[in-house]
């Protein structure tokens, strides 16, 4: 670092080395069409997925465009309120703004009939017993407290059904990368479906596959 020449008046005082510059910006957020329609379903305790055409993937929640097709998703499909844990993590840190007791579990849950996992909490089971493939169901708030927010589903809890053994294991280099697969069926070994053409193909995976 170059030698700095200070004027005499600043040579014998403690130098400032850092400065706080807090800033706050206020916005009015509107969710847009697809998310509004999803939230309208939530107020009726329905989980509504959306798709671009009858043969394309069902996104839950939809964000307005199908990333395979680049198309809007006007078709609404109600999906099941039960699904399979496709991945999870155990949270041991208290985050700002979170009222959760730690440790708790956040999971990706592929609802039956959906092609995209949603992220939500797993409760009513000790965090160390949550596992990939576990079948879970939505637990709603009391009817009086249902609002257009995903928080109207308090959490998911185990259904007690047998685990889905076909679930994709994170770390296996398979599947589509979307955390899910069409029809809820795991790809056969070393075979992936091309999500754009719908054709299967043999992948040459290296590493841990």
């Amino acid at each position: 670092m170059p030698e700095i020449q200070l004027p005499a008046s600043l040579q014998d005082v403690e130098a400032v080395r850092s400065v706080r510059t807090p800033a706050r910006l206020d916005y009015t957020f509107t969710p847009g069409d697809a998310t509004s329609r999803f939230l309208a379903g939530i107020t009726q305790k329905k989980i509504i997925g959306q798709q671009a055409n009858p043969d394309s993937r069902v996104y839950v929640p939809a964000r307005g465009a199908d990333p395979e097709l680049g198309a809007a998703t006007p078709i609404e499909v109600e999906v099941a309120q039960v699904g399979t844990v496709t991945s999870f993590c155990v949270v041991n840190l208290q985050f700002y703004g979170s009222g959760m007791e730690i440790p708790y579990t956040s999971a990706l849950i592929l609802l039956d009939g959906a092609d995209l996992s949603i992220m939500h909490l797993i409760q009513e089971i000790p965090a160390d017993q949550v596992r990939i493939g576990m079948r879970v169901e939505a637990v709603w708030r009391d009817d009086a407290d249902i609002e257009p927010t995903l928080e109207s589903i308090k959490w998911f809890r185990p259904t007690g059904e047998p685990d889905d053994v076909n679930v994709r294991i994170p770390g296996e280099i398979r599947g589509t990368g979307l955390g899910s697969w069409v029809g809820g069926v795991a790809p056969t070994e070393l075979t992936v479906r091309n999500p754009r053409t719908g054709e299967g193909g043999t992948a040459e995976f290296g590493g841990e596959g």
């Binding site: 020449q5 200070l6 400032v16 329609r37």
Partner: protein, 159 residues
């Protein structure tokens, strides 16, 4: 399966983004902020001899490090200004005021500030101004509470 339905009324929610940043200044900007705390204004001397305020860390032409800091001001002249009739809650002053670019005595480039003045007719390019220091200073641009015009009486005081 249903076709697309009307979304009905538009949902909205407040969204507040906060940036609670603490920034490392480096020695040049640090010296400028140190100066503000000590009620001293400094600039950096560029390779062509110009004095740049707030100090630049590098020469605007060559890009070389600038290392010589010199005292400037505290008075200066208005290089340009803009009159704010209805200040925003985030602006430095609550009453109508002028943004000013002030070229401090001994400086060659102007710096931005908020000038407290009686009205738009009181402000003009070339007018002399001086800083009003905040009572509590910590090494922050807000250590200059605002700027005021140097009026004739002040000129008398200076003489």
């Amino acid at each position: 399966m249903t076709d697309q339905t009307e979304a009905g009324e538009i949902l909205s929610a407040p969204l507040i983004i906060e940036y609670p940043f603490k920034r490392t200044t480096g020695p040049i900007i640090g010296a400028f902020l140190t100066g503000l705390r000590e009620q001293v204004l400094v600039g950096s001397k560029a390779e062509d001899g110009r004095v740049i305020v707030p100090p630049a860390e590098f020469d605007p032409v060559s890009g070389n490090d600038l290392t010589e800091l010199v005292e400037v001001g505290p008075e200066g002249v208005i290089a340009t200004w803009a009159w704010v009739t209805a200040p925003h809650a985030k602006h430095p002053l609550d009453d109508p005021f002028a943004w000013v670019l002030v070229t401090l005595d001994g400086a060659d480039t102007p710096m931005l500030g908020a000038l407290k003045a009686d009205g738009i007719d009181a402000v003009s390019t070339g007018a002399r101004v001086k800083p009003v220091w905040a009572e509590e200073r910590e090494g922050h641009i807000d250590d200059i509470a605002h700027w005021v015009l140097v009026d004739d009486a002040d000129e008398g005081d200076r003489a």
